[in-house]
Symmetry: C2
Subunit: 224 residues, 2 copies
């Protein structure tokens, strides 16, 4: 399949909800490829994975014409296109700020590596943490070495896994080191300059979706 | 504001993308209430928080008519409605399976408690973990006590934070104890009976959204 690519939209034009959906489509295509499915229509994709066919077509239309009339999408090709669109065709190098439970859990999270992210370093301030390694072997460095190691390890993304009270200070350090993309797990509002992309993960949203299910279902004995 | 409530839709009718958006609207309304904003239109909500006004109206229309002509939404009222819709008007009691780094991090995650979830217990199989408590004081129990403690503590939601290899076995135990809602952080596919809601969190999606930003932006020196 040859796709007639549109001029690349700027990151501001494409909403985060769209990129989140692109990630979901990518997961679906990976599953289809593993199941040896060669082609699929937007309708088929929607039915199989409980998605919206019109939405799929609209999301993909931002980036080109990937469907082939009478065929649908070639699974392998569309998957490769999505990986390129999402910037996953190169390994991105990630540093994790904070080697507490969350930082260590993220350093060893198997999904990151699978999708091409490389966790290259953990950073902490505590003497008894610095010099240790996570279970999967990621070294914990002194946060005072951050700038040097970022340059040396070519870190592109920083993950904030420090307590809320320290988060803004750590974000400032990350920004000062020239990092343009930050994934934040700390609650509360953080500020960054306009040219830095900050994405905050709110784990509560997932629990609320389950809460909705329980409230609507017959989960009569579940509340406190 | 009095809302003419529609007959409650079944959980199957409302997609997870919709409930995720309801959670986001709730966050926005909480922020507006804190900023002493009394009323807001769907348009105003959309502009202020980079959302889609038509989508907001469509999502809310599932549950009733909350807007008032010429006024918009009453922030405080809509927030209360959303909390009820999401089942957050009662405290939901949560157990975490696995007291490794991820389980301990989740047990101490401040967002859960803020939104009305109560983490009542951690479970593990390891002798040196059982009997300990997390930093915020959640007790780690022997997983063999699971059924008894679930009943005693009236647990409604289980969170899976065990290694992938043990996840299905632990999910089976959770289902056998009568729990109907499971939040899974373990990678890989898990199966549950039709009356159990399983939601898997894929942390990689957030990183991919940053990757997209870096790929589209001018992050020329960031790849490996």
């Amino acid at each position: 399949m040859k796709s007639r690519n549109k001029p690349r939209p700027s990151p501001e034009q494409v909403s985060e909800l769209t990129t989140n959906r692109l990630s979901i489509y990518l997961r679906c295509l990976t599953e289809l490829e593993a199941a040896h499915v060669d082609t699929i229509s937007s309708q088929g994709l929607a039915e199989r994975f409980h998605l919206n066919a019109a939405q799929i077509r609209k999301d993909l239309a931002w980036f080109g014409e990937f469907g082939v009339r009478g065929v649908g999408y070639y699974v392998k090709d569309l998957r490769r296109h999505l990986r390129t669109i999402l910037g996953l065709d190169r390994r991105l190098r990630v540093a994790i700020m904070g080697a507490g439970n969350l930082g260590l859990a993220l350093a060893d999270y198997p999904g990151f590596r699978q999708e091409g992210f490389e966790i290259v370093a953990l950073f902490d301030t505590l003497n008894d943490k610095v010099g240790q390694v996570s279970r999967s072997g990621v070294a914990i460095h002194d946060i005072r070495q951050f700038k040097r190691i970022v340059r040396h390890e070519r870190v592109g993304i920083a993950v904030i896994a420090v307590p809320a009270g320290a988060a803004q200070q750590v974000v400032n350090l990350v920004v000062a080191a020239g990092i343009k993309a930050i994934l934040n797990f700390s609650p509360g509002t953080l500020s960054v300059p306009a040219d830095v992309k900050l994405k905050s993960v709110d784990l509560t949203v997932s629990l609320e979706s389950l809460s909705f299910f329980l409230a609507r279902g017959d989960g009569e004995s579940l509340g406190a």
